[in-house]
Symmetry: C2
Subunit: 364 residues, 2 copies
Amino acid sequence: MEKNAVRIKDIAAKANVSVGTVDRVLHNRGRVSEEVRQKVLLMMQELDYEPNMMARTLGSNRTYRLAVIQPDHTLDPYWQGPRDGLDKAARELKPYGIGVTVYSYSLTQVDSFVAQATAATLSRPDGILVAPLFYRESLAFFAQWQQQGIPYVLFNTYIAELQPLSYVGQDSYQSGFLAGKLVRFGQPQPGTFLIAHIAEDIANSVHVTQKERGFRDYFAQLAPARNGPAPGPREHPDKIISIDLPDPADPSFARQLNRLLDDEQAQLRGIFVSTSKAYEIAPYLQANRREDIRLVGYDLLEKNIHFLNENVIDFLINQNPKEQGYWGIFALADRLVFKKKVLPLKYLPLDIITKENLQYYVGK
Amino acid sequence: MEKNAVRIKDIAAKANVSVGTVDRVLHNRGRVSEEVRQKVLLMMQELDYEPNMMARTLGSNRTYRLAVIQPDHTLDPYWQGPRDGLDKAARELKPYGIGVTVYSYSLTQVDSFVAQATAATLSRPDGILVAPLFYRESLAFFAQWQQQGIPYVLFNTYIAELQPLSYVGQDSYQSGFLAGKLVRFGQPQPGTFLIAHIAEDIANSVHVTQKERGFRDYFAQLAPARNGPAPGPREHPDKIISIDLPDPADPSFARQLNRLLDDEQAQLRGIFVSTSKAYEIAPYLQANRREDIRLVGYDLLEKNIHFLNENVIDFLINQNPKEQGYWGIFALADRLVFKKKVLPLKYLPLDIITKENLQYYVGK
DNA sequence: TTGTTTGGAGTGTGCGCACACGCAAAAATT
DNA sequence: AATTTTTGCGTGTGCGCACACTCCAAACAA
């Protein structure tokens, strides 16, 4: 094997030109007659030439600087995941001349996002990976990068507005849809199902509203068709409510939650927490011994894992934070270094995590 | 970045020797005085030298031949997965001088395994990746490879007997345990649960017996402790039975299966198929409209996906066949080419697949 | 003594490619 | 017609490393 690897030299010989000429058509450096150009191109096709990337990066001493803009991982544990992933990618890609700089902003302060995004832009990077949690404020930056010709990749939150090179992350809608299934599955009787947002600025967060839409749609499609041949064994007059909880430190958090749990009428059978903060709800269920209420949330944070093992949380959906960082960086590398075409959408799987399969996802 | 990459030239300068000398200590070629050797080693540590793998493979024209021994993918669709995965790995590793040859044997014929394994051994490969479905017949080969110093990696089936370089695949026991959870989850009433083996030589297949053990243990640990403080809200006098079905083409397959399904007394609530052949059972459930019987099986084969979408199969556990092939090859490459230490056990996740998250696993 | 081996080091070439440079012929300008 | 400029192409060097080769002096044998 490998003996038959086609080199530039082979193309040159077959086309009766020098390696310099082949190099010129390969990189569109001009200074080649159209006639020769076509011949070289043909020979390349015939021999099925594939450049040797190792020799290429070794030969050209070019380096690439990538900027990552994401929430500070010391303020919210979730963001440690993407951080780990992009660090891993950075390590693997270092020999290819890729360097990564992280600009972290505060999840709760819009202006810190603007400041960091501005700093990243001013560093004039060769590519940008960004988690655009703030919808409105992101748009202007996209426009600027697009104009400057800097490729940028989105992760975690998908904003279609200005075409990014790629989006890496979950399909939020389907993610909510799946949550509906998990919260409903195996429950023989109809009831009320709650979708809880914790300390989220819903209006400015595409991400979360799509999850809610998916969740509601799951129940909608469950309802038997009006004129269906035979109505299913059970009807589904389930009631879906959603609530916008404040920061858990706020006393009204407990107040609002307890009011819901104490409402005997409601027949509350399941709660879906739209972010990775299911561990904020879990203690209330555990304290009141509400094993009858199904709890579904996101991500394998330490606290979530605790309540999963205690059977308070029933399912977690893994958003694959680490993979998001990893593949985000790789999307940029594929474009810049390897010159491969990059898929505009890279949906990561919706991993269903239970107590029984947890261990194989934790260190991943 | 990357400007600070340490080269062997830098070490040479710092140790006041030539690059040739550094090369000699790097590869233990001898012909270096102990004194100088120590100095060079020290400088390497101080500068935190990491060899540039690209330059290394480019410089040394060494190639590696890997042999893969696995069931023929044209005879059983499952094995297309590992095949795809190892092909992908082979493509990525080709520039590193790695070539892969596949020796495929027939799942049902022991002697074809022996023949292919023999052929692979005679080709004197630099490394071997093997799916040792036949327990007894595998042992002799392991011993031989060990003696010849050929590193070998197991996948799909774990046999601890003679330490392989690594095992890549699922934890079969935990896989069965999870299947127990999935088949039982949300069913309010106790009943009978069936574990079905289809056309398997149980006695010679570690793999499948471990799955059964895990499955049974799930139910065992569900039963409330004898002297527990308070017996749970429901007791679990579930009954677990297992059955050894013949090839589905055999008329007794249908006979045995129908007898089980028609037994009103049994209260059959769930079936766990221990291999990827859940699609052989599904038609019987569908024909008899037995929506009350939970069906859990393995792998995203086309036929399984069909019945998952029809709600006949409730859950599939993805054995990640593609990843098994991919990481199996990489384990060998890590050892041979990159000289990294290889984990002796690489457990792949137990992906839970439902209709709702299926799409993100299919093309993976 | 003169050869011969051997230990301990340095030098040189090539891997496949990028890129700067050189040089002649053709085309454009004066 | 003499010049500059442009076009079209070939050559040479270096990237970091492996590996064969060379060289020299000391140890040893004859």
